[in-house]
Symmetry: C2
Subunit: 146 residues, 2 copies
Amino acid sequence: MTSRVLNDKDFAGLLQRNQLKVTAPRLGVLKIMADRDSAISQPVLEKLMGAEVDRVTLYRVLKTFEEKGILHKVIDLNGTAHYAICSSNCSEHNHQDEHFHFNCTQCKQVYCLNDMHLPAIHLPEGFEAASVSLSITGVCNHCSKE
Amino acid sequence: MTSRVLNDKDFAGLLQRNQLKVTAPRLGVLKIMADRDSAISQPVLEKLMGAEVDRVTLYRVLKTFEEKGILHKVIDLNGTAHYAICSSNCSEHNHQDEHFHFNCTQCKQVYCLNDMHLPAIHLPEGFEAASVSLSITGVCNHCSKE
DNA sequence: TTACAATTGCAACTTTATTGCATTTAAAAT
DNA sequence: ATTTTAAATGCAATAAAGTTGCAATTGTAA
Ligand SMILES: [Mn+2]
Ligand SMILES: [Mn+2]
Ligand SMILES: [Zn+2]
Ligand SMILES: [Zn+2]
């Protein structure tokens, strides 16, 4: 459930490989993301970043990372945006993030379940699927221990 | 794909059966909902209702209908709230809306796919699922004709 | 008709997100 | 080292979605 892209902690290298300038706001976001095993919500991320970085800059950093295939955005069942490290092999124009998401009702975390795959879906006549997203609500492995 | 609850158009009766007063804002919402074969977004619904009804009242009507099992809320992949008639047999404390939703990228409509059922999902150790929601993005039957 | 709880409308506010523009800065070129 | 400049940031203004408190109104049961 941890990313292969960020665990070497060469954040500057990652930015350079993506033709992005190495800046404090970007490094800050990467550092926070790399330490987690679940997605992080926009509001929480904003708090963690603190006053160091402007809110607008944070939005722009996230948008850029999304476009570059470094992070992906997940909207949870309440409509809150979450961000997570992209699995393995996403790139600028080729996202490969079709995995399940688990929303814990207790700790409110969103987990990417990368290793699960979706059975084929048969749609009614005329409907053409481009992508499929599956969200599960329940209690996560940490919270179910208590 | 059409509701059994509202097609008799006895809106007042429906409200009374749910211990709700028959009021103009509530009848207005039911009338709009009954005519559709897809979910309706909060912003669109607000425009259709026009200045006749206060925004806050609309939010409260929707919340009440949700609690009573008359409507259910779906958050689409952009985080926008949509509302749809509940299928057949939802009631105050027993929602029965575990079906797929189809998000059309062209017309932006959200369709409830009531007649499809989800295959069982095996979660990692410790995770306990309470409910599952599946959203499909693509082109709907109307839009794919063009 | 009356009485009263339920419902509505209004004002104020919060949170999330976007846009335009002036200023700053990382990094490439000299 | 300096210069240069496109890229990135910060700030102010704005918009949209949603919430809360409270006074006024109204549906309905008595
Ligand atoms: Mn994910
Ligand atoms: Mn539905
Ligand atoms: Zn949890
Ligand atoms: Zn469509």
